[in-house]
Symmetry: C2
Subunit: 183 residues, 2 copies
DNA sequence: TTCAAAATACCTATTACTACTGATTTCCCT
DNA sequence: AGGGAAATCAGTAGTAATAGGTATTTTGAA
């Protein structure tokens, strides 16, 4: 049910081809000379928002998958998956949907779990509370007022938190908080 | 290929049952009286790390799915999916794998895209660069040194960035940066 | 009950950031 | 050639946070 309209051997060629020939779906790899798949996807999405992009590649690195997700591709499947899945991916994408193969999902979930379990510092409940309030952009004084304690105490908590987490500034603390879902 | 060993009508009952009867896989809903599925999953994972958890529910809210992912369930499928998918989920999970149905993946991807596209402020390349360096816990002076520009200039950039993003402090900026994947 | 961790509180400096205002240059687009 | 955004630089104040230190009270576990 699909019509093959052309091919290109890298990102630059692909963009040139699209310029002359209107297409509905673009199937691309990630590693290519001249312009890689991620960059190509971004360019296509920027200049031709209606063109759907399906990434078919061997890469299963969470970081790369994340980049592709951010580039807003409609689909991502691994090269070793069957023909049936490719057809289903194309069908769903043609129908204004998205398609990410099960392997991809699993990779992301696992990466996520890993990230979560790598930290097991002993941050006390009160400290966690303070971190949350810091995350709400409250100053030391404001936090003290909110918790009905002295600003000095909040100071001490901040100090202890920074020491425990190994951060030098609140910026580092915020990164820590985000990575460990404390907010 | 599976053996049914028992059932419970809420989280508390389930925990009590597990206490007396060893099980391999727990299938649970999310909304339950006494103790919800997310909490149950966390408790089970904490006390019986070897028990696999498959969540079968009607919820398709990204926030809830995220909670479940964080609770480290091995699988998540929607109630309206077919029996074949349920069996496959159980099979994969029994085989030390994970299973998240395609719908779930799509919901997450869409939520992610939405989050990304809701913000289209005009932050300049230089400003983005500054944000990244702030994220590296560099002070204004340090950033100036790194970029070979005056600290005053960095000051101005910071000011403009805060104004553009509507943040009052760097903490707010860091939240913005994380939500928009600027780091 | 005794010990340790957590939470509470204070002091003194120094450093860093925010708020206000104003200005020049460079570069791209029309 | 002109307009406008981006990037550059400067001053002055005031506010907030970090780095040292010290010390008391509460609380939960052994």
């Amino acid at each position: 049910q699909f019509e093959f309209v052309g091919e290109a051997s890298n990102g630059v060629e692909a963009l040139a081809f699209i310029k002359g020939t209107p297409i509905d779906i673009l199937i691309t790899d990630i590693s290519m000379a001249e312009m890689n798949g991620t960059e190509l996807t971004k360019q296509v999405k920027k200049n031709y928002p209606d063109i759907k992009v399906l990434v078919v590649t061997m890469f299963n690195d969470p970081a790369i998958i994340n980049e592709i997700l951010m580039a807003e591709a409609e689909g991502y499947i691994l090269k070793n998956t069957g023909k049936a899945e490719l057809v289903q991916a194309l069908t769903q994408i043609a129908d204004n949907g998205t398609f990410y193969s099960r392997e991809i999902m699993e990779i992301m979930v696992k990466a996520r779990m890993k990230r979560k379990t790598t930290s097991d510092l002993t941050i006390s409940p009160r400290e966690t509370e303070i971190i949350k309030l810091i995350g709400e952009e409250l100053s030391t004084a404001a936090i003290a007022e909110r918790l009905f304690i002295s600003p000095r105490t909040v100071d001490t908590h901040r100090k202890n938190i920074l020491e425990k987490t190994g951060c030098r500034t609140i910026v580092g603390l915020m990164k820590y908080a985000f990575e460990n879902n404390l907010l």
